[in-house]
Subunit: 136 residues, 6 copies
């Protein structure tokens, strides 16, 4: 078994806000991330798949197809979008790095041809990232 | 003469829109950047100052003071902000990378203690950046 | 369960020397790292914590609090310090990348609010790093 | 137990071609990678070893010796080479990132003094990499 | 006036050989780069254009058009190619980093809509690059 | 004319201290850099040379020779050294990034075979660097 990882990028806006809380509580917990005008990031996504190497191609997965899946399932939905306002899974879920990693996993699960989704890593900035391995 | 450069980062939202144009024309020219919900970036700012090395300190400029100036004049104004909606100089000026570089120059000019502002570079992403050297 | 990682940096001096050995043996084993005047590095620290996502915040851990813990427990103790001379755990332990990773783990264990310390990674340079996952 | 990783780089040419297939099939599956003149990459190799920290040295493995092993076993064989034409293990195996990771593992296994080979990671570009952990 | 830079990447093979010299002389001067099977690199190209900011768009140059020009004029010609064998300008000119920078300049000159080509930078690896500013 | 740049790295210790000042004044101006035990950095050096491309080789400068000059003149003198204590030019000159850039220029001037030294850039960390172009 071998793991293959491909990166993709998207630029998006978001903010953190819990509707069940007061404005004051939101600002206390989320600080400047609570600004409802939104702020943004260049997100980097690393998707890792696991499988056997196909003897005929030398591939665990066809990188072109993997790129297309990332593009169609994630990048087209998130890139140049306001995550809270335009992406359905973040209407009622705060788009933290952790929740974005889980959401990307759910978008990709079962969509990678011939390999098993192993890990989704999302970098919000170069010094903050979340890893999700799916439910056990 | 020697040049000294310091980087700083800020995360912000923006969109591109010319009010004098039709919606259609905005979308034709600006593509997905015309989404008025905004999208965002991790901007990297490189500020270069020029001067003589002070024999007593070995500094062209005190890096701590330069950092404080960048923080007060730029980062506090731009970080975790929606540039179009919250930053005065972008109310009527489109916050492209070029215009951000010019705006940062204007915010910093005359504020760097003991050295001359030489260049402002702004990276919108790692593969796109603008350089501004001030008016001749 | 999800993993969240945050980076921090510190600049420090160190050297490698085993007091039980002759000078010659130290120089044979440690080469130019045996220079007792010390040399230094920009260390990059990656601290990974594991936990469940809190439904109210979308966080495994409050990044601001994690940053504060890294700052107080590690960066303040190591940054702009000579590790052998000024940091207690390296008085009798050689500050190799491996031992720094273990020492950072011990400084952080039990201090991360609401999440479990999962991994400490220390980069001495971009091409050398050590990972420690604690004692099993 | 602790893990230590060291990077190395090599620049090489390769192409993808399955002799059992028609030219057309090769071009359909491998696209521009099927160009038999070859194209090339700056490969980055990350080799991770696992072991206990030696109390006398603070090392899991002597980094100088690990570097020498990487140099002798991998870099001298691959750097500035055409992988398909000049490296024996790729005469009949397509030099994909996955297969290079497996081949590097086989070249290094049993050669790292005093530590266990844990993982071989090969980056073909910064956004594509393969990880191999050996046979279970 | 402001400068705008855009990066692009291509992966290619090359070797260094002067047909006017003996094999021995080629190997003495070019070392392992003289291997006629070729070796390869992930080249990074940085193209800088200079101009005034258009008040209507905030652009010196339309980044989408600049990207298309780089793609059509350079990337399609060089990417996944053997530079010596497949790219006309390197049939009789050695594809060193310097000569690639000059060749990219010549391919782009006069093709950037509405702005002046200012500089072409080519990275062969992260630690080697050439800059060309055109003929004076 | 074309410019060619090569990077090199060295790891060294230093501290900032002006003997003409009181301890208090040193600590006020230099902050934690005034710690006389020293702290350290992974310095990155970028040396740019200018010249004409030699038609026979395609080189402005032989990169192997340039690397050797950097190694002999700078890296051997600075790497794994305490700059204040072991490098002659920093006995009475504070080893700031600015002064290191000037010192590297003086070490290299006239030593690059067949090309003109154009610029020395020294990175102390990825977010701070100094550029020196020599005396006019």
């Amino acid at each position: 078994m071998i793991l293959l990882t491909r990166r993709a990028e998207f630029s998006a806006s978001h903010y953190y806000w819990n509707e069940a809380w007061s404005d004051e509580e939101n600002r206390r917990v989320f600080g400047k991330c609570a600004n409802k005008n939104g702020h943004g990031h260049n997100y980097t996504l690393e998707v890792t798949v696991a499988g056997e190497v196909d003897a005929a191609t030398g591939f665990v997965v066809d990188l072109k197809k993997l790129k297309d899946v990332l593009e169609q399932e994630v990048v087209q939905a998130y890139d140049h979008r306001h995550l809270n306002k335009e992406v359905p899974e973040f209407r009622n879920t705060i788009p933290t790095t952790e929740n974005i990693a889980i959401a990307v996993w759910r978008r990709l699960e079962g969509k990678v041809p011939g390999a098993k989704l192993h890990r989704v890593r999302v970098y919000e900035m170069s010094d903050i990232f979340a890893d999700y391995y799916g439910e056990p």
